[in-house]
Amino acid sequence: MSGHVKNMCPQLTISQAARTLLSLLLVAAIDSVSAGVVCRKQPCGSSLQRSLKLTKLIHKESVDLLKTYKLSQGDMSELFCQMSINNVPDPNISGLDPSERMLSIYSHCKAFLPHLKRVTEQQTDLQPPSSSLLSKLSTAHNRTNGLANQINCIYQTLFPNLPIPPEPVDGPTSVPPSQNVFQQKVYGCVVLKRFKEFLSRVTRELRTLKSQVCTRRTTFADTNALF
């Protein structure tokens, strides 16, 4: 019996070490993953510059997207865009300090995604299959998702101690219930108009953030080096 126990001790030790190692690895993995996105640490300036370029691209495309959308809905659609609808994200970026504003950009990107998806679904029924509107909507959705992931990673790098809230619930409370065709036309116009305005604000915000946050971190690192 004691022999059996003696024989088991090394296995227990190995097992414990393995568990400890596995736990450490898991923690490290979780630490670098947030909201399902794996981020690699990159220089502050170049990351934000990349996001800025992506934002400018999506914004430029959103202008054409809105124009194409209006043309596809028929005359008088300009008025549709001016109507107000509940539950469509507003284009304003909120927050006082850079971390809050960056988080607001991320949250807004995520909030627009289900609406872009809903508009795409609705327009798929309304437009001929060859309509360029459908591909432009799909591109806008994909690029916005990519931008959200980039902002997520930059946020994790700059503010590692500040958690990112869980993703907004994607369900019936975020997009409107089934609508008649006229309501769909109005809804799509409002979504795309606010989306365009949001991206314009994000462009300005990222420029500001780049000068604020990346410069500050450089200064912070130099300060530490003095000690």
Binding site: Q73, G74, M76, M83, P129, V181, F182, Q183, K185, V186
Partner: protein, 404 residues
């Protein structure tokens, strides 16, 4: 709080109270072209809007008040006659406005016709691997509203009915079946059309995949000069590799044109050779040449297939002729470059060689040259050592009034 929640639950499915404050009936109707419609716009009484201050627009255009009907203090109707087909597939926008132009409510009209049976259904297979089909809508009226077309097919003698799934090849009224097609057995294929106003089915076509085969255009098309001959070019090409295992005898066509012309000349009697000589061309001129292939005789069948696309244009130029030796037989330098001029040069060349100079020039000599020319063409049209068919554009002009 609970009463507020209950109120919210019973609010009709409209926009928030700051937006759509009225309801239009009917909502999103489908209508026949030429029919009439009476729509009503009913405003919520608490809005304080009177119906006689409202107006209607259709696709942005204000409708005349003579078409309106005052139903009540908060209800206004409009009657439209002889409706035209919808301006866009998302529907015509019939909108009810307040006096200052604000949108109170809207309804989208789908005006079209039930589909007629699709026509001109044709299919082709690329290298026996797949099947593409195209058709034309049977009527115009169905094009104003969203009409769904479903291509269906089944093996004629057995097998279940299947639907084509890939309509995204970029062209309308086409569908693509990428794989799992049987050979040596006929398929039945048809198209079903449906929209909100009705359905229709095309005639059924029956085909064997091997009877509708096309292939890729020939590759490696090369065009080159034939020595110094200023009126000829040789064209060579490769047979399409995709069908090399099918033991078929392809046939080819060539077409060529001048660089600055849009008119192609077709050479149809190339047969199954993979090279050909073009003659009767203009000297010192750039020609564009294309070749296409017809996969005749797949698996031993004698039926012709479908012509491939033309190959990418290949260009080459014919040589300039050498300047003529001086003498009384030289053509004047000021003469226009023409078929006649070319023929004259050929004649003078022959005279220098065979008629001991120009001293015995006469129309008889010219006739002798014409006889010699025809005899030498007949000889060259037979199969030569390179098996290159000789194709000539015969001269058109005869000399008139030449020196006696």
């Amino acid at each position: 709080m609970i009463s507020m929640l209950c109120l919210m639950l019973f609010v009709p499915r409209v926009f928030s109270s700051s937006t759509q404050v009225a309801v239009i009936f009917p909502q999103d109707p489908a209508l026949w072209m030429g029919s009439s419609l009476t729509a009503t716009c009913t405003v919520s009484p608490e809005r304080g809007l009177h119906a006689n201050t409202m107006y209607w627009t259709l696709n942005g255009k204000r409708l005349p008040s003579s078409t309106y009907g005052l139903l009540s203090t908060n209800g206004l109707s409009v009657t439209l006659h002889r409706l035209n087909g919808s301006q866009q597939q998302s529907g015509d926008n019939l909108v009810c406005h307040s006096r200052d132009g604000h949108v109170l409510a809207g309804s989208c009209l789908y005006v079209g016709m039930p589909p007629e049976k699709p026509v001109n259904l044709t299919c082709w297979s690329r290298n026996t691997k797949d099947l593409s089909c195209k058709w034309t809508p049977g009527g115009r009226g169905e094009t104003f509203i969203k009409t769904k077309y479903t291509l269906k097919y089944k093996l004629r003698w057995y097998g279940r009915e299947r639907e084509c799934e890939d309509y995204s090849t970029g062209k309308r009224y086409t569908c693509y079946i990428p794989k799992d097609l049987a050979l040596f057995t006929p398929y039945e294929i048809w198209v079903e059309a449906s929209n909100q106003l009705g359905t229709a089915t095309s005639d059924v076509i029956t085909l064997d995949i091997l009877d509708v085969v096309t292939t890729d255009p020939p590759d490696n098309v090369h065009v080159s000069r034939v020595g110094e001959l200023e009126d000829q070019l040789t064209v060579r090409w490769g047979s399409p590799p995709a069908l090399k295992d099918f033991l078929f005898q392809a046939k080819y066509q060539i077409r060529y044109r001048l660089e600055d012309s849009t008119e192609w000349k077709l050479v149809d009697d190339v047969g199954n050779q993979t090279s050909c000589r073009l003659a009767g061309l203009r000297e010192g001129t750039v020609y564009f040449v294309q070749v296409r292939c017809n996969p005749v005789g797949i698996y031993g069948s004698r039926k012709a297939g479908i012509w491939s696309d033309w190959s990418h244009p290949t260009a080459a130029s014919t040589p300039h002729s050498e300047p003529l030796q001086s003498g009384s037989c030289d053509p004047k330098s000021g003469e226009q470059n023409s078929t006649l001029r070319r023929e004259l040069k050929q004649f003078f060349g022959w005279v220098r060689k065979h008629a001991c100079g120009c001293s015995g020039m006469s129309i008889k000599l010219y006739d002798q040259w014409r006889v010699w020319l025809q005899k030498s063409h007949k000889t060259r049209n037979h199969v030569g050592k390179n098996n290159i068919p000789f194709i000539s554009v015969p001269a058109q002009h005869r000399l008139h009034g030449y020196a006696q």
